[in-house]
């Protein structure tokens, strides 16, 4: 990834890191908050953490004026333990390009 596209990513995207209880339905609660606003979720990564009772979800989303409020709504969900916002060029999605060639 070159410097230009990384800068673009930083401006246009945001990365959200969400700690959740690991059980069915949590993902639909979270992505539903984006879908109802017609906000596309550009990337999703999710794996269990530790003993598997919790998971961590990483979302790549478009920068949007409503994002701050959406983050507060995500934070309010019963199964969300914590949410952190990172810049759009966060490394978590960077190494995945090989798996997403057309």
């Amino acid at each position: 990834m070159n410097a230009v596209s990384r800068n673009e990513l930083k401006a246009l995207r945001a990365v959200l890191e969400i700690d959740v209880n690991n059980h069915p339905g949590v993902m639909s609660h979270i992505v539903g908050l984006f879908a109802r606003r017609a906000c596309n979720v550009e990337g999703i990564l999710c794996l269990p953490v530790g003993d598997g009772r919790q998971s961590r979800i990483w979302l790549l989303v478009n920068e949007d004026g409503r994002l701050a409020q959406m983050i507060r709504q995500v934070d309010k969900l019963e199964d969300v333990l914590a949410i952190r916002r990172h810049a759009g060029d966060h490394a978590v999605f960077a190494g995945l390009t090989d798996h997403f060639r057309p």
């Binding site: 339905g25 609660h29 539903g32 409020q69 507060r72 709504q73 934070d75 309010k76 969900l77 019963e78």
Partner: protein, 556 residues
């Protein structure tokens, strides 16, 4: 002592342990084990609705009138989908409900089994939280937690979907969990309260803006104390009516789309808006950019996601309004604020709320005031949705929190009759009046049978103009008078329909003395429909046209 119990018995036992004495619902195949267990309960009474939506709104009426979590039950598939509107309505108005639905057995989920629908998926966006229970053991955790979630923080509906095999699964129960109750949020930060107090103390033209959260928090008296101590003129949302008596000298009544002109003009002039348990709904603010354009904002709400959502607050505090007010009050200085209070009184004189026809019980405002004259503040006033709802909001002397039950956020026609039944079941000593319209009552007419069966003390005042009044009004004002699909070409004889469904009916149109007929109908115990024709040409005025600023109200 260890007992062997089925999931259904555990569910009912946990409801009993929550102190639930009354549930409402509608049975069906997938929830029959729970109904069978319910039949054996000696402490829980079940009220059978005639439609699951009716059950949902009966539960809402119980919760709104009492402030306690209410429970409704439905079966899988259509039972669950019929509940959805009442659940969504509870979400938007922050009403604590626990809805329990039966589901097809776990092994059949996902197979499009008979009466299978993805209840969990359907209720994700309309509940505060929802559960699909996968074992009888889980019920011991899920049910108390559902009550805690429904009642804590910003209240709301919680759905528990229980597959039939989980209801039938027998397990050994050695110990019972503590009932789930309201958990208090962290106290308001002291420095934020101090900052809010200093803004209030420095303001020359402050206004207090009360929302439904003030009612939910039980903070109405504290809000009135604050208003009186600092001489804060006070506006209320539709949801907050009754928090301050509308005839209190500091009350400006309801703000927004159908608020009094003096109220919206006062908001235009204020230099500080103190929003308590309110969410700056579009029907309250009108065009947001023009709402309180000169004002700094203090916003106290229990839900952090409401702060800075529509308007950025200068001081935003996440807290229970009652707790915050108790600590804010000593920090706020007494202040006669005579120039501002005088200006408010001048606005009230110059731009009064027009209530034509108050002396004529055959007019809409006259009918509402005549009903009010028959009752005291102990009565509960429910409405449906439409012109009648706005007229009652404008004209009824609401003076008590939880006196007023109305569908605010979702604006659901069909809310009124079942909600009134629920209120009457929760508070049998009170008279419950439901103002409704010819459109709304037909949306849950079947619940008249429930009202008759339970012999609840509700008086349904049907204001019949044979049109969908608010649609008719908007088509007249904003769609070139092209009236389409808003005039009923056929309507039932409502009095005969009510009698056929098992309740008494009085037709004020036919009464020689409508006042006397009304007094008699309200005084007679039990359910009664009171029918009154009104003029289809009457509008709800003043009105902020959709998208306009509140100052640009039309009419009256």
């Amino acid at each position: 002592m260890t007992e062997t119990l089925t999931g259904a018995r555990i569910t009912v036992r946990l409801l009993e342990r929550q102190g639930i004495g009354l549930v409402t619902g509608y049975p069906g195949g997938a929830i029959l084990p729970i109904y069978d267990a319910l039949a054996q309960s000696t402490t829980i009474r079940h009220v059978l609705a005639r439609h699951e939506q009716g059950a949902g709104f009966i539960a809402q009426g119980m919760a709104r009138a009492s402030g306690e979590v209410a429970v409704c039950l439905a079966s899988s598939g259509p039972g669950a989908t019929n509940l959805l509107t009442a659940i969504a309505d509870a979400k938007l108005d922050s009403i604590p409900l626990v809805a329990i639905t039966g589901q097809v057995p776990k092994a059949m989920i996902g197979t499009d089994a008979f009466q299978e629908v993805d209840t969990y998926g359907l209720t994700v966006p309309i509940t505060k939280h929802n559960f699909l229970v996968s074992s009888a053991e889980e019920l011991l955790e899920v049910i108390p937690r559902a009550f805690a979630i429904a009642a804590s923080g910003r209240p709301g509906p919680v759905l528990i979907d229980i597959p039939k095999d989980v209801q039938n699964q027998a397990i050994e129960v050695a110990a019972w969990p503590a009932p789930g109750g309201r958990q208090l949020p962290p106290p308001a930060p002291g420095d934020d309260l101090a900052a809010a107090a200093s803004l209030i103390n420095a303001a020359r033209r402050p206004l207090l803006y009360l929302g439904g959260g003030v009612i939910h928090s039980g903070a109405a008296a504290a809000a009135v104390d604050l208003a009186e101590k600092a001489n804060l003129p006070t506006v209320m949302t539709l949801m907050a009516l009754g928090a301050m008596p509308v005839d209190h000298p500091l009350s400006l009544g309801m703000l927004g789309m159908h608020g009094a002109r003096y109220c919206n003009l006062a908001l235009d002039e204020c230099d500080l808006l103190i929003a308590l348990g309110a969410r700056f709904d579009d029907r309250a603010t009108g065009k947001v950019a023009a709402f309180c354009p000169q004002a700094k904002i203090v916003h106290i709400d229990i839900d952090p996601a409401e702060l800075d959502k529509i308007k950025t607050a200068h001081v935003g505090i996440t807290a229970d309004v009652g707790e915050a007010l108790a600590r804010l009050l000593p920090l706020v200085a007494r202040n006669p604020r005579s120039a501002w209070v005088e200006r408010i009184d001048q606005l009230k004189r110059e731009f009064p709320q027009a209530l034509p026809g108050l002396d004529d019980p055959r007019s809409h405002f006259g009918l509402i005031r005549t009903v009010a004259a028959c009752l005291d503040d102990d009565a509960v006033i429910a409405t449906d949705v439409g012109q009648h709802q706005m007229w009652v909001a404008q004209a009824y002397p609401l003076r008590r929190p939880r006196q007023w039950l109305t569908s605010g956020g979702l604006g659901t026609m069909g809310f009124g009759v079942p909600a009134a039944i629920g209120a009457a079941l929760a508070a049998p000593q009170r008279t419950v009046v439901c103002f409704t319209g010819d459109g709304s009552i037909l949306m849950n007419l079947q619940e008249l049978v429930t009202a008759g069966e339970e012999n609840v003390n509700i008086k349904i005042v049907l204001m019949n103009n044979a049109v969908l009044g608010l649609v008719h009004q908007q088509q007249t004002l904003f769609y070139g008078e092209r009236l389409f699909a808003s005039q009923f070409r056929a309507l039932p004889d409502f009095c005969k329909a009510a009698q056929a469904l098992g309740i008494a009916a009085v037709d004020l149109d036919a009464a020689a003395n409508p006042c006397a007929a009304l007094v008699e109908a309200i005084a007679r115990p039990g359910p009664c429909l009171i029918h009154a024709s009104i003029d289809a040409g009457e509008k709800v005025y003043p009105m902020v046209p959709p998208g306009a600023a509140n100052r640009d109200m039309i009419g009256a």
